[in-house]
């Protein structure tokens, strides 16, 4: 497979710089996103890989400014480059501002693991899609209906005209997922954020949905930010990969480099710990010991050091590693011992 250069000359569609999203809970301050840098290039797929609680979903929700209370962006920038070339810092906008509402849904659309979190239960599928189109595009009701049916057809829903009138509960899980994708793509977004879009689905349905996202990405020329915990899904669809742990990106790079040559101990341990079909039989899986520390008792220094086999006392617990270029160029890694 030919390797694509990681950075093309085109300017990035979205640049997240030192993003900090914190939750002010009764028990204390939870730094869910703690200084994340990410770049999304137009026409490329970035996968954000991490376990639950690593901040991958909150990063995505920060971009759209839909972080729930008591969460708040306390620092950093989210620079979005609009179609006309102007840039806007989404982190500085009010969540309800006019500009934000324009970006949300029209320029950047999001799909979720659970389709019912974005589909209303008592409104017909078609009407929900039409409403979105009418909100963001200058079309008549009849045109919106036509576009909606076309989208339902495009995402592979059989009998789209009939299903236009269906309620969400009348569709299966996979079909609902498709309907949600149809709605998200109905305004031809420039960036699709997909948060665990196939986690609740069967493998055969998952394959279909991943193929569908890849096809539509080509057809509509959009960028995709896909959030997942599944290394298989990452290998399948990603071009760029960011690995997150406890609110930070610990490794970033081209998908082929990351899989062929993982640098961060966490990335390596993660890759070693999954069973693989057809691989040589192992009696035991090399598991990562312990568990993710409680967010309120973050270890000093490197947050992974309590579970890391390579941690060096006096080094890893002293200062916090920053994401910086390691062995192969263009694959930044945040680790005290990898430099």
């Amino acid at each position: 497979m030919p390797q694509t250069p990681m950075h093309t000359d085109t300017s990035p569609l979205l640049e997240i710089r030192n993003l900090q999203t914190h939750f002010f809970t009764h028990d204390g301050l939870v730094k869910a996103v703690d200084g994340v840098d990410l770049t999304i290039q137009p026409d490329r797929t970035l996968c954000v890989l991490g376990e639950s609680g690593c901040g991958k979903s909150i990063t995505a929700r920060s971009v759209l400014r839909i972080v729930d209370q008591p969460g708040r962006i306390v620092g950093g920038e989210i620079i979005y480059r609009a179609a006309d070339g102007r840039t806007v810092d989404l982190a500085a906008e009010r969540p309800g501002s006019r500009r934000m509402r324009e970006v949300r849904g029209k320029d950047i659309a999001m799909i979720f693991q659970e389709p019912m979190s974005s589909l209303g239960p008592i409104t017909r599928i078609g009407q929900q899609i039409s409403e979105t189109i009418l909100l963001h595009r200058k079309v008549t009701k009849a045109e919106a209906r036509e576009i909606a049916i076309e989208m339902l057809d495009k995402v592979g829903i059989p009998d789209p005209t009939g299903r236009y009138m269906a309620y969400p509960f009348e569709l299966s899980g996979g079909m609902r997922q498709r309907a949600m994708i149809a709605m998200a793509l109905s305004c031809q977004p420039r960036l699709l954020i997909a948060d665990e879009p196939t986690t609740a689905l069967d493998v055969t349905t998952q394959a279909q949905i991943l193929d569908l996202i890849a096809e539509l990405k080509e057809e509509l020329n959009m960028a995709v930010m896909l959030i997942t915990h599944d290394l298989g899904v990452v290998a399948e669809v990603a071009e760029d990969v960011a690995v997150m742990y406890m609110g930070k990106v610990v490794e970033y790079g081209d998908v082929h480099d990351i899989f062929a040559n993982p640098q961060h101990p966490y990335t390596r341990a993660l890759m070693a710990s999954i069973p693989r079909i057809g691989a040589e039989r192992r009696d035991r899986l090399p598991a990562i010991r312990g568990m993710v520390p409680h967010p309120l008792s973050r270890p000093s220094g490197c947050s992974f050091r309590t579970r890391c086999d390579h941690a060096i006392p006096g080094v890893c617990d002293q200062s916090e590693p920053k994401l910086q270029p390691a062995a192969p160029p263009n694959q930044p890694v945040s680790c005290m011992i990898k430099r």
Partner: protein, 319 residues
């Protein structure tokens, strides 16, 4: 002893149904044996009937037809499907279950000592200090600290809760443990720990597992033999290597092809999205509407069980 620990014969589970309506055949004429000390995997997609099958074996729900025979020791075999409630409860001490969601399978208002100890109190009459000691010992066996005795489930992470669920299953000294998607809800790094734990416990206590899961990589890792279910039927049953190296049934092949491979240099060739079949196949092979090999016979006749290269396969075409 060579007799299987558990034999399932022609098990049917039909939900609903009356004179006019056939109902839903969640489990359809399923037969298999589980050998002592093995891990028997049941894989399938949602709605394939794998969970219902597990529940029918335990008789959490009563199967519509069929027979389940359990041979815990040298004495006469027990026909689970013939037992009354009281006799069944006695068997439930040696057949235990682990559930997918440790969140909903543990009562949030009971402390760990009660969650794990209830069964011991009932079966062995343990109380007070003796009970606390036994539960503390069980906690240690699943890798939790004995001080956790009086904590509530809310104080634990998902992985720890699943360990509590495992300790509860082990409490009464079971021979057979039915694990229904026991690691599916866990994070990648916790999943590996839990799989290792299940294997250690199997070695230590001579456990036999029925491992119900949808994750094929996990099933290949942990199971000795595997049954693939589709719409209530076992369409293929083989030992692990045969099934994963030379899958015979078209459905097994489709399933294996759909699994994303964690290696970007081996991305599968993108196929056009397969049209999703509409309508339900009433006669013949349930997989026929989706199958590339399907012919007239598949739509009319139920496929026979055949032996194909060491695997039991339910298909008209593969040989």
């Amino acid at each position: 002893m060579t007799a299987p620990l558990l034999s399932v014969e022609n098990l049917d589970m039909v939900f609903g149904g009356n004179k006019r309506d056939a109902g839903v055949r969640a489990v359809d004429d399923v037969s298999f044996d589980v050998m002592r000390g093995e891990t028997f995997g049941i894989v399938g997609e949602s709605g394939s009937g794998k969970t219902t099958l597990g529940r029918c074996i335990m008789r959490i729900i009563d199967p519509t037809a069929g027979k389940v025979t359990y041979r815990p020791d040298d004495s006469a075999p027990v026909t689970l499907t013939d037992l009354d409630k009281a006799e069944l409860r006695k068997q439930w001490q040696s057949i235990r279950m682990i559930f997918q969601d440790p969140q909903s399978s543990l009562n949030p208002r009971l402390p760990v000592i009660e969650l794990i100890g209830q069964a011991l109190r009932k079966s062995e009459g343990l109380t007070g200090k003796a009970l606390a000691e036994r539960v503390a010992q069980l906690l240690q066996q699943v890798g939790l600290r004995p001080e956790f005795l009086h904590r509530y489930p809310g104080a634990f992470s998902g992985g720890q809760r699943q360990r509590i669920g495992i300790a509860r299953a082990l409490a009464t000294g079971p021979k057979l443990v039915i694990a229904d998607e026991a690691v599916s809800a866990l994070d990648v790094s916790i999943q590996a720990q839990t799989l290792n734990l299940l294997q250690d416990l199997q070695d230590e206590f001579d456990l036999t597992y029925i491992f119900i899961a949808h994750d094929l990589a996990v099933v290949e890792h942990i199971c000795d033999r595997v049954a693939v279910m589709y719409r209530g039927r076992i369409v293929e049953l083989a030992d692990r290597d045969t099934l994963f190296r030379t899958p015979a049934h078209p459905y097994t092949r489709e399933l294996l092809e759909a699994v994303p491979v964690p290696d970007p240099s081996r991305r599968r060739d993108r196929k056009k999205t397969v049209p999703v079949p509409t309508g339900v196949q009433s006669a013949g092979c349930a997989f026929a509407p989706r199958c590339a090999l399907a012919t007239e016979i598949c739509r009319n006749q139920t496929p026979p069980k055949r032996n194909v290269g060491g695997a039991e396969v339910l298909c008209h075409h593969v040989t």
